[in-house]
């Protein structure tokens, strides 16, 4: 469903991605794990056709991000690290707008499809009772739910979530994780995180990325894999420039 082939991305002199390649199969929930600055957001922005790679190629549902960006954009739902919310709008009005934005000009849609889609997304994300709330008055957890609702509202086959639980309290984190888990099997999900527990809690597979390179690819089916993932992640963080001091901690080294 997602293919990344030798992705490179440079910002001026800084190279964020160094030949990153991976594949995600249909229906998989894949965690993109790496320390801050590893290149997770850059990869996600390339996959959502927000910007093109400096070199390499990526495909979403068989469509090229370079040559068919419009088709790719139709097929993905994306939650950036900061939920993209118009805070002056009500939850319902905002979701109606996003649905229209994603589907405008689609003649196959019937009249009632927008209402159905908005109701479905609100119900799925537990927002029905807050439908008339102005987004600026919502808590961070609810805003994150609205962010996820806008990513799924047009029923895309691929959902990309950039650090979906960052900054939330433990109860909100559990709620968002349960929400993501509820899409298992229905949609292909790629989510990024810098915390290991996130991946082990919701993902089928983990891709570990460090300094723009893929350094590990683990299925999370059994405990031994989980353990090796943990070891690998600690190693990656320790290797990372900012994590050098971790080696001096006895329990880590």
């Amino acid at each position: 469903m997602i293919q990344a082939k030798n992705l490179e991305k440079s910002y001026g002199l800084h190279r964020a991605l160094h030949g990153l390649s991976f594949e995600v199969a249909k229906g998989e929930v894949v965690g993109f794990l790496g320390p801050n600055g590893a290149g997770k957001t850059t990869t996600m922005r390339i996959l959502t056709a927000f910007y093109p790679p400096s070199s390499g190629e990526a495909f979403v549902d068989g469509q090229s991000v370079l040559h068919q960006p419009e088709e790719v954009k139709k097929r993905i739902g994306y939650l950036p690290e900061t939920p993209p919310l118009y805070k002056e709008m009500s939850v319902e009005a905002y979701l109606k707008f996003v649905f229209d934005l994603k589907t405008a000009g689609d003649k196959a849609l019937s009249r009632g499809s927008r209402r159905e889609a908005v109701e479905w997304a609100m119900e799925k994300c537990g927002l029905t009772h807050r439908r008339r709330s102005i987004i600026s008055t919502l808590s961070k957890g609810y805003r994150q739910r609205v962010g996820i609702a806008q990513a799924i509202i047009h029923q895309p086959p691929v959902i990309i979530l950039d650090e979906p639980t960052v900054g939330l309290d433990p109860i909100q984190i559990r709620e968002i994780r349960d929400l993501i888990s509820s899409f298992r099997g229905e949609r292909t999900i790629l989510l990024s995180t810098h915390t290991l527990s996130e991946v082990t809690a919701v993902c089928d597979r983990a891709l570990i990325i460090s300094m723009g390179k893929l350094v590990g690819d683990r299925q999370l089916g059994d405990i031994s894999e989980k353990k090796s993932l943990e070891e690998l992640f600690v190693e990656v963080v320790a290797k990372d420039h900012s994590g050098n001091e971790l080696r001096n901690i006895p329990s880590v080294a």
Binding site: Y11, T48, A49, F50, Y51, E70, E71, K73, K74, I76, Y78, P80, E81, T82, P83, P84, L85, Y86, K87, E88, M89, A93, F97, V98, D100, L101, K102, A104, G105, Q150
Partner: protein
């Protein structure tokens, strides 16, 4: 077109729920009303003087010198031009700066819409809002036509000029807003550009002839003045449309650079 419509509705919604829009609209209406009353009173005074002179000189032609179009309407549209010059940067300051500040540009740029559709959606909302601003003049026009007998063609020409000039100010404001995350910075950039293209005309007489002619042709104010004096010239229409296209085109480059970072 459907996508432009969707984006226009959302932008208009934001404009219409924002207290800033109502404060700007209210202050503009208040200043416009004040100016209208004072210019009407001074017109009335001049009319009385002219009537006395006509009676004393037994020459009714003196009354022709007191013209409602020239003395009231022309002044009012000129004054509105000045108000729009001040208000447009405030009304457009959030058009793109807020999209950047709230990260909503990531939603727009990862949705199946082009950067032109995004810009035209916002510009269409600005057009509707400008019509709303001009709609506040209807009371003034009603009073003018009900109690007086102004030359309607000149009024149409002045308002066409005002509309085109207003749209140019909005296009400049949208461009300024696309350059920054800060609404305040956007106001200053738009104000600076507006002032530059208005002031450039005053350089005309002080530079060599050919350059002077070019500057004269590039002057915002001289083109608006033509409309305001009842002269609709193709060159002036082309001037304003070019200005709008130029600044919306520059906005498009600015927006595309966001996704080229």
């Amino acid at each position: 077109m459907a996508k432009v419509w969707v984006l226009m509705k959302r932008e208009l919604y934001s404009l219409l729920v924002s207290p800033v829009s109502y404060v700007v609209l209210g202050v503009m209406a208040l200043l416009f009303g004040y100016q209208f009353v004072t210019s009407l009173l001074s017109f009335d005074q001049m009319l009385m003087v002219a009537e006395t002179q006509a009676r004393l000189a037994q020459n009714p032609d003196v009354l022709n010198r007191v013209n409602l179009n020239e003395m009231v309407i022309l002044g009012m549209t000129g004054y509105s031009f000045f108000l729009l010059f001040l208000a447009a940067p405030i009304l457009t300051m959030r058009f793109f700066s807020d999209e950047k500040a709230q990260s909503t540009y990531e939603l727009l740029l990862t949705s199946p819409v082009s950067s032109w559709q995004i810009i035209l959606g916002k510009f269409a909302a600005a057009k509707v809002f400008l019509l709303l601003v001009l709609a506040t003049h209807l009371i003034f026009l009603f009073v003018m036509f009900f109690y007086g007998n102004p030359e309607w063609r000149a009024v149409v020409s002045a308002y066409l000029g005002l509309y085109l000039a207003g749209l140019s100010f909005f296009a400049i404001g949208i461009f300024a807003s696309s350059l920054t995350k800060s609404a305040i910075v956007a106001i200053f950039i738009a104000g600076g550009i507006n002032l530059s293209i208005i002031m450039i005309g005053s350089l005309g007489p002080h530079v060599p002839q050919n350059l002077g002619r070019f500057i004269e042709a590039a002057s915002f104010h001289s083109h608006f003045t033509e409309f305001n004096q009842g002269v609709i010239q193709v060159s002036s229409c082309v001037y304003f449309v070019s200005l709008i296209v130029l600044f919306l085109g520059a906005t498009q480059i600015s927006i595309r650079s966001l996704s080229r970072a």
